[in-house]
């Protein structure tokens, strides 16, 4: 009986899935790509930057004739509000109703760990542009990312701190309620141990906390050379401000993970953030015509400077469009094959995927230092 029911169910679902084939007349005009980003809530800054990057690239691609011999790309961006459940619902909608062959995003690693299994099971290519946690692409064969994982960037930063500033004894801090921050910390800890740092203490806080005085007072008493921190930019700003307020001297540098790599840090923390080191796969002042044009166009379109999330999104839109072209059809399986052949040179530098669907090289990583509330390339 139950088998009969499930067969009936399967047929019903099958016919539902087949129905939109009738809309191919429309589909010939456009190829629809989905994206899931945080457009509201406390972390909306990330999603908004990504949206700006995606849309800028999209405009350029469509103006230049689109893909597959003249089809325009349409982008449907769903808001996850930073909420895993909402992100999964958005994915179900994009896959089930809009039938997109490719989903870009979601914004946070946390969300990707929820969305990835869903899209992967439905065999829809999913390309994270900002998901840097460990294990993202291991979710399944349809999950790609264009963002360098933290584990590729952080060792470069820590090594620079050691070689250049003689850092030996460190305190480590991270937000313990967020996959991105925790995994960034794991990478930092592994790199710190490998470089032979002495870890004086490990302190945690919540992503939405605003008081860090207890942890920082404890760290102050330990006389460390530097403090590593893995979290999103909002709590990092609060931590560096309070550290200076509590009298931790400026000679004790902060070393940030990917979350610290945002102009927001300077806006909020101002001079308190000076000296902070962060490794970045992209930097606004990076030389080269492609990047300069991107920065100027982004600013014109969105009224503010791009950050690395916008840059990664911009390149990703191009990478996806190229893969659709190479695939010859808006078909998820073929696009997946095409992505492996990616050989693209964008604002981030030369880009290709490893067999594990991660970015192939970390050569482009630059170490930045905060100075007067702005990042500068560390000379």
């Amino acid at each position: 009986m139950s088998r009969l029911l499930s067969t009936v169910g399967a047929i019903a679902i099958g016919s539902l899935l087949a129905a939109p084939a009738a809309t191919t007349a429309w589909a010939q005009e456009t190829v629809t790509v989905g994206a899931i980003e945080i457009l509201s809530g406390p972390s909306a800054a990330y999603g908004t930057a990504i949206k700006g990057g995606l849309e800028l690239a999209l405009d350029e691609i469509n103006a230049a004739g689109g893909v597959l011999g003249g089809k325009k790309i349409a982008l449907i961006i769903e808001d996850s509000a930073g909420n895993k459940d909402q992100a999964v619902n958005a994915a179900r909608k994009l896959v089930g109703r809009d039938k997109v062959p490719v989903v870009i995003g979601p914004t946070l690693s946390n969300e990707m760990f929820a969305v990835g299994p869903v899209t992967n099971e439905r065999k829809v290519v999913t390309v994270g542009t900002s998901t840097t946690a460990k294990g993202i692409t291991e979710i399944g064969p349809f999950i790609f990312r264009t963002s360098l994982p933290e584990s590729d960037v952080v060792p470069v930063t820590l090594k620079t701190a050691k070689d250049k500033f003689g850092v030996k004894k460190i305190a480590m801090m991270y937000a313990n309620d967020d996959a991105f921050s925790k995994s960034g910390f794991d990478s930092m800890k592994a790199a710190a141990e490998q470089l032979g740092f002495e870890i004086a203490t490990i302190e945690t806080f919540g992503s939405k906390d605003s008081d860090f005085s207890a942890q920082l007072t404890k760290i102050k008493g330990l006389n460390v050379d530097a403090i590593t921190i893995s979290a999103l930019v909002e709590p990092i700003s609060g931590v560096v401000l309070q550290a200076r307020q509590l009298g931790i001297p400026a000679s004790v540098r902060f070393i940030g993970g990917n979350g610290a790599n945002s102009p927001k840090l300077g806006e909020i923390a101002g001079g308190a953030a000076d000296g902070l080191l962060v490794g970045s796969p992209w930097f606004i002042a990076k030389k080269g015509e492609t990047n300069e044009k991107f920065v100027a166009d982004y600013k014109k379109r969105n009224g503010k400077d791009p950050d690395q999330f916008a840059a990664q999104a911009y390149d990703t839109m191009y990478i996806v469009a190229k893969a659709i072209d190479t695939a010859g059809a808006a078909d998820s399986d073929k696009i997946r094959e095409a992505l492996y052949k990616t050989d693209f040179n964008g604002v981030m530098g030369p880009f290709s995927f490893t067999q594990g669907r991660d970015p192939a090289s970390n050569e482009g990583v630059v170490v930045l230092a905060m100075k007067n509330g702005r990042f500068e390339i560390l000379e």
Binding site: E203, S210, S213, Q215, T217, S237, Q245, G247, I268
Partner: protein, 293 residues
């Protein structure tokens, strides 16, 4: 280091207490769990921020402005959301649900207009320096928070115990029908209580936003959880209880993070909350202040 940690705890606890004052007043007098309270906190901070940025107001102008704006918002919100429920003598659960829906809508609305980026008061808005004596550092903003909390608690006591409005409020807290029969204008008193608690929430928003430099629409949401813990531990409607419970909670959290593990910090507030509900469901200090006074 212990003395610095105690100061840290005192400051943190004062922010909890400051936030909880208005919240406990609403509950103690109006008998509603008004979740829009978190929004008054956010809007107060934003009004002050706008005043500071656009009109160059200093803290002594921006703070009362933020507080008064939040007070007015509170009167309107209470009137629109809860008048009908009050008339129908609906239970506490209905006010909880109505205000939960409303506060989510209000936060989102605010995010639409203002955006969700965190913002801060202009650099140099208040003197950012700190005083240091025998190894303890405390900033002027932090002293302002502690001072304001104490002043507001004192003012609230005087208002409730020594003024006619206070008498009306206490009568309302005791029994609404009896108060009405005694000729008290209940509508006006309700509005006054809403205004007062909105002002307290708004002032808390300005000062806490100033201390932590993280102003954004959802800032009230995060405080709300602690606010709940504080008013339950302190006793619903108990102003002195809120003050003591806030400081207690802050100090315990800081000591836990400093000497046990920062991971266990969150556990403290809610363990005390559960213990209070088990052993002293009326709160640490018994009967509600607004009634007893």
């Amino acid at each position: 280091m212990l003395s610095q940690q105690l100061v840290n705890g005192l400051v943190l606890g004062s922010t909890y207490a400051l936030f909880a004052l208005g919240f406990t007043l609403i509950f103690g007098v109006l008998r509603v769990i008004n979740l829009t309270y978190g929004f008054y906190f956010s809007i107060g901070a934003f009004v002050a921020l706008t005043a500071a940025r656009s009109f160059g107001a200093n803290i002594w102008v921006a703070l009362p402005l933020g507080a008064i704006a939040a007070g007015l918002v509170a009167v309107v919100a209470d009137w629109i959301l809860l008048t009908r429920l009050r008339r129908a003598k609906a239970g506490e659960l209905s006010s909880l649900m109505v205000t939960l829906g409303a506060v989510l809508a209000l936060y989102s609305l605010m995010a639409v207009f203002i955006g969700t980026d965190i913002q801060r008061f202009p650099f140099g808005f208040v003197d950012n320096s700190a005083i240091e004596f025998s190894g303890i550092r405390i900033s002027l903003v932090q002293m302002l928070i502690i001072g304001t909390t104490l002043v507001l608690v004192a003012l609230l006591f005087v208002l409730l115990q020594r003024t006619k409005l206070g008498l009306m409020i206490r009568a309302l807290a005791e029994n609404e029908d009896a108060a009405r029969l005694m000729g008290i204008n209940v509508g006006l008193t309700v509005a006054a209580v809403s205004f007062l608690s909105g002002m307290l929430g708004g002032a808390a928003g300005v000062l806490i936003g100033l201390n932590f430099n993280a102003i954004q629409p959802f800032m009230g949401e995060h405080m709300m959880l602690r606010g709940f813990a504080v008013i339950i531990i302190g006793g619903l409607g108990d102003i002195r209880g809120a003050l003591i419970a806030g400081v207690l909670l802050g100090v315990l959290e800081v000591l836990t993070a400093g000497y046990i593990s920062s991971n266990a910090k969150e556990a403290v507030a809610f363990t005390i909350l559960v213990l209070t509900l088990w052993f002293r469901p009326v709160g640490l200090f018994g009967r509600a202040q607004a009634k007893r006074a």
